[in-house]
Each structure stands twice: as structure tokens, then as C-alpha cells.
Amino acid sequence: MFTEFLQFLLSGVTVGATYALVGVGFSIIYNASQVINFAQGEFVMLGGMMAWFLFERAGLPMPAAVPLAIAGTVLVGLALEKFAIEPARNASIVTLIIITIGASIFLRGGAQLVWGRDFHALPALSGDAPIDLSGVAVNPQSLWVMGCTVVVVILLHWFFSRTMTGRAMRAVAFNMLAAQLAGVNNRLILMFSFGLSAALGALAGVLIAPITLTYPDVGIMLGLKGFCAAILGGLGYPYGAIVGGLIVGISEAMTAGYVSSAYKDAVAFVIILMTLFFMPNGLFGRRGIERV
């Protein structure tokens, strides 16, 4: 009975960790621009697809393929900001959000054109043989997903509290005009936030590709669930998105395990509706910072 619970929990934490990485990306871009970047899921797809391509097709070793795939996705993220968001920076937020939806469709179509519609498998980083922890079967790749998420959280914390760029990003999030007056280069921050989000998305993509395979549409659902995570945690609170992701992932696993798997996918969306009804600012969002 208890091992069953642990097995569900393990599943929830693994899936939740990927939602969290995607959700953090939403929050970072939102902080810099108030834009919700709906191409976030496509960063996940690009990370996985590029890693597969570099490893399987170009024959690079895994330690080279993974960083290159992340770097490639960062370039796409920067290009998206430079050529799609920046030229329209005087447009309304809604327009910018629509641009990101367009970009996501474009990236999906591009991936289909370049890599085909089929699914591809990336080998697991340390084998497929499950580890048996007193009755709970653990996929080694799950440990990678969880471990990397923890490392990312630590690095992000250090980055936002100790580095000049990180503090500048927080300043922009808090008050864009004041930050600008204090000499923060807004445009650079926006650019940087797209790069950082793309890197986090790509990392999630690379880590999850051995578990779920990778294909052009893989980012749609992950993007939506990541968005739920970000909303639940409070948009603009990267740590909130991490907690949100874990909550969404674990609730899904528990619903599938104890209630009915038919309702599993509804869980995330029920959570998002409940959050918006009762806590519009999310779990960690503060009231009273609404912009007029």
C-alpha cells in the first residue's frame, strides 16, 4: 500500500519537475516583459529534437550533444526575442502574446519540416534498467530530472540574489520604469530572459526525451502544464512555479492512481481555474501589485 503511494509520488515528482522547469521559463519572461510566452513548450521540443539530431544523426557524444542542443535552443530564443518581440515592443501585451503563439506554431512547423513528423528516441543518460528501492521501481532518468531541477533551483537562487544581472532582472520585474531610471538596460534584460527561459526549456526537453520520446508536438501539453504551474505558483515568481509544477505533477499522479486515470488531464486545468477564482495572484503572489 505504502510502496504504491511512493510509486505514484515518484511519478508525480518526475513529471512535476519538468512542469516546474517549463513554468520557471514562463515566470522569467513574464517578469521582464509581462508577456506570457506560449512558445515555452516549443523550447522543450527544440531541446529534445536538437539533442536527438546531434547525438543520433551527427554522431556527437552525449556530453557534447546536450550542451550544444541547449545552446542551439538559446539561439532560437534570442532570435525569437530579437526578430519577433522586439520589433513589436510598442504593441500591447496581448499583441505580444499572440506573437508568441504564432512563433510556437512556426517552430512546430519548422521542426516538422527539418526533422519530420515521426517520434525519435534519445538514449537515457545512465541506462534504462530500473532501480528497485524497496519495491518502488525508479527509472534512472527520473533521478536525472529531479537532480537537475534541484541544481537549477540552487543556481537560479544564486543568480537572482548574488549577480548584478539577476538583481537587475528582479528590479525590472518590480518596477520597470524605476529600474530603467537607475540605469538598467531593459532591452538587454528582455533579451537575456528569453535566452534563460529557452535554456531551461531545452534542459527539460533533453532530460525528458529519453522518458517520453521527442516529436514536433511534444511541447504543446508540456507547455500548457508548465503554464498551469506558473499560474499556480503566481506568475512572476520563479520559485512559485517550481512548487506549482510539483503540485500539478503530484496531483495528476495521485488522481490517476487513486481516483481514475480518465480525470488525470483535467486535474491541471481544474487547478488553474481554482487558482484564478480564489487566488488570482497564485500561491506566492502578493496582492496589490496590479498595474493600472
Binding site: F8, F119, M221, K264
Partner: protein
């Protein structure tokens, strides 16, 4: 707008020219038999439509080179529907009204096929579909036939195998796509006939990244003797991997939706031991010499490989069978009179095709039974014919 007018004018001129040429040609030889086709050569189902198009073109050329049918050449009028049901419907209107074809073959997906069913029924033109779902021919529609196996047949084949092993308690796991749901519904309705009891029934969403909770539940359900998964594509790979991760060892069955090499390579070692029903074409080389389809399957495989230099897919077989059933019916009818051809298609009996051996009737416009499938097991990353 202007461009539109110009292109329309160009089309008018061209068709006028075509009519003139055809009229001139008609004076020389007997009028060709017009076979109309609409296939998803591009778009989402292009991996199905493309081999279908290649197969049709290759065999129409071959039949023509051998003197055609009832002394007349075949003219293939083929449109690419782009996996779009609306486009499919407008192309079929064109095939009926403008091209005035004698018979229509095609409809790569169920959606496209169902969109044109009312049109062919109204026009009274024989139509053989290459799409999978049982709903196309159940209930029977006067002018509509189809060649591919249905998921219902696949489930029956699997149940036969489960029963043959003396097992009866099945855990069912299905995705949420159209194919998955239809397969699951069939698994429920057919269970009684094979004295099978479904003791666990779980589902997952499309694109799910982890299915261990559902599989853990199945693992902890008492008395399960066999596991059946309904779904295809990346989802079926995740299911196979999670199944292996949890250390489940029950006999694992999947549908013919997983009968592709992508499934085997995608799952790595996790696909080993999985059993599934597949078209005989998949294991043509392993079939016993007594198997009626062996010669044809090997021949079809060799022809396709020689012409297009790519591995065979079972989808080309749907088109081959559709074309050959149509040609057989026209030959027996001795004309292209729609009612005569339709009646002859319905009388198709013991036609040995790539997909199986067809015997149609007024109640059965598919004409296949479970013998059209063979059971295979995945061993060492390849298909192993069972029995």
C-alpha cells in the same frame, strides 16, 4: 481577385484543350476507364497517403502496359487532399461532376472518407476506401467499400490468442485518441464472445509523459493474466517503457497500431516480448510456403522496393487491394456501368490480397476476417511470426 480570375481562365482554357485532345484521342482508341482518387499525400497522414499514391501509380502503369482492363486503358485522376476532410469533399465533387470518373478509390483517413460518403452515395459511384475505422462499412452503405483491417478485427485476433493460451482475465490500458477509444470500446464489447473478463480498465491522455500510476494500479490488481494496450505512436512507446520499468511480466499485447519498426526502435529493449496482430506482409519472408498470401506479399514487397528504393509499409497494401478489387469487378462486369461494377465488388470472393483474403457480401463491405492477421512477437528487435 484578379489573379483568381486569371487562374480560372487558365483552367478553362486548359480543360477545353484537354477535351479537344481527349476527343481526338477517343477517335483512335477505346475510351479509358477513369479511376478517381483522393489521398492524403501531404499533411498529417502523409506517411499513409504517400505509399498509397506510389502503389496506385505503379500498378496502374503496370496494368496499362499489359493491355489495360477489358481492352481499355486506365486513366488515374489523383488529387492530394492534404489530410483535410473539407478538401477531400471538394475533390470528390470534382471527380464526380467534372472528371466524371467511373470509380473512386482512396480516402486515406477515416475523417476524409466519412466526409465524402454522402457524396458518393448520392451520385451512385462505387467507392473503395483505404481508411481504418469500422464505422465506414458498419452499417453497410450501398456504394462504400474498404480494404484495411479494422481495430475490431485486431482485438478479435488478440482475444483468440489470449484464449488459446488458456487465459481470461485481461487488464486494459488505452489512450484517448480516436483509434485508441474505438479499440477500447471493441475490447469491451468483444470480451464476452471470447469469455474474457476485463479486470482493470485504465486510460491515459495524449502525449502523457509518465504512465506508471495507471500501470501500478494494474500491477496491484489481483488475478490479472494478460495486458492489452490500445494506442499507437509515441504513447505506445511510453506505455511499453513504463511497463518494463515497473517489472510487469504478464503477457503484453498491443494493437496493429504498433506494428511499425519505429515502435520497436523507439522502445529500445522495452518492446521485447510484446505480441501484436499484423498484416502478413510484415513477415512475408517467414510465412510458411503453404500460406496463400506468401507469394503475393513477397512479390509486392520486391516490386515496391525495386521501384521506390524504400522499405515496404502496410499502407501501400490497402491501395493495392483496392485497385485489384476494382479491376476484378470491372472485368467481371465487362463494363464500367456503376451498378454492375458495384454489384461485382460486392461479389468479390476469395480474392487473395496483400492485406488478407477478401470475401465480400451485401452485409460485409470489408470482407476480411481474423485470418487476415498473423500474430507476431517482437524478438531481438524484429518481428517473429508466431505458430
Amino acid at each position: 481577385m484578379i489573379r483568381d480570375i486569371f487562374s480560372r481562365a487558365a483552367v478553362c482554357l486548359l480543360s477545353a484543350l484537354a477535351v479537344l485532345i481527349l476527343a481526338a484521342g477517343g477517335a483512335r482508341a477505346a475510351e479509358p476507364i477513369k479511376i478517381g482518387s483522393f489521398l492524403a499525400v501531404t499533411g498529417g497522414a502523409s506517411f499513409l497517403g504517400d505509399p498509397e499514391k506510389k502503389t496506385l501509380e505503379m500498378y496502374v502503369a503496370r496494368v496499362n502496359a499489359n493491355g489495360g482492363v477489358i481492352g481499355r486503358q486506365i486513366e488515374l485522376v489523383l488529387y492530394d487532399s492534404g489530410t483535410d476532410a473539407k478538401k477531400a469533399a471538394s475533390f470528390v465533387k470534382r471527380l464526380i461532376n467534372d472528371d466524371k470518373v467511373d470509380i473512386i478509390l482512396g480516402g486515406t483517413t477515416t475523417g476524409e472518407t466519412m466526409a465524402v460518403v454522402p457524396l458518393v452515395e448520392k451520385a451512385g459511384i462505387p467507392f473503395i476506401s483505404f481508411a481504418g475505422a469500422g464505422v465506414i462499412v458498419q452499417p453497410v452503405k450501398k456504394w462504400v467499400f474498404k480494404t484495411p483491417h479494422t481495430d475490431g478485427l485486431a482485438v478479435q485476433k488478440i482475444y483468440e490468442d489470449i484464449q488459446a493460451q488458456g487465459l481470461s482475465k485481461v487488464a486494459l490500458f488505452a489512450g484517448s485518441g480516436g483509434f485508441d477509444k474505438s479499440c477500447r470500446a471493441n475490447a469491451h464489447t468483444l470480451a464476452g464472445k471470447y469469455k474474457i473478463e476485463i479486470v482493470a480498465d485504465e486510460t491515459h491522455g495524449k502525449g502523457d509523459t509518465d504512465m506508471t500510476p495507471q500501470l501500478t494500479k494494474i500491477k496491484n490488481t489481483g488475478g490479472v493474466e494478460a495486458f492489452l494496450y490500445c494506442g499507437f505512436g509515441a504513447d505506445s512507446v511510453v506505455a511499453a517503457k513504463n511497463y518494463r520499468q515497473l517489472g510487469l511480466t504478464l503477457p503484453h499485447y498491443q494493437s496493429h497500431g504498433s506494428a511499425s519498426k519505429r515502435f520497436v526502435t523507439g522502445s529500445g529493449g522495452a518492446a521485447e516480448g510484446i505480441r501484436l496482430p499484423a498484416a502478413a506482409l510484415l513477415v512475408a519472408g517467414q510465412l510458411p510456403d503453404s500460406h496463400p498470401q506468401k507469394t503475393l506479399a513477397l512479390q509486392f514487397e520486391a516490386d515496391y522496393r525495386a521501384k521506390f528504393n524504400e522499405p515496404i509499409s502496410t499502407f501501400g497494401g490497402h491501395a493495392y487491394d483496392g485497385l485489384m478489387i476494382a479491376i476484378g469487378a470491372i472485368e467481371r462486369a465487362g463494363s464500367t456501368d456503376p451498378e454492375a461494377v458495384r454489384a461485382e465488388i460486392e461479389k468479390t470472393a476469395n480474392y487473395i490480397g496483400v492485406d488478407g483474403i477478401y470475401t465480400m457480401s451485401p452485409e460485409d463491405h470489408l470482407g476480411l476476417d481474423t485470418n487476415s492477421f498473423v500474430m507476431v512477437e517482437i524478438r531481438n528487435g524484429d518481428w517473429q511470426l508466431l505458430k
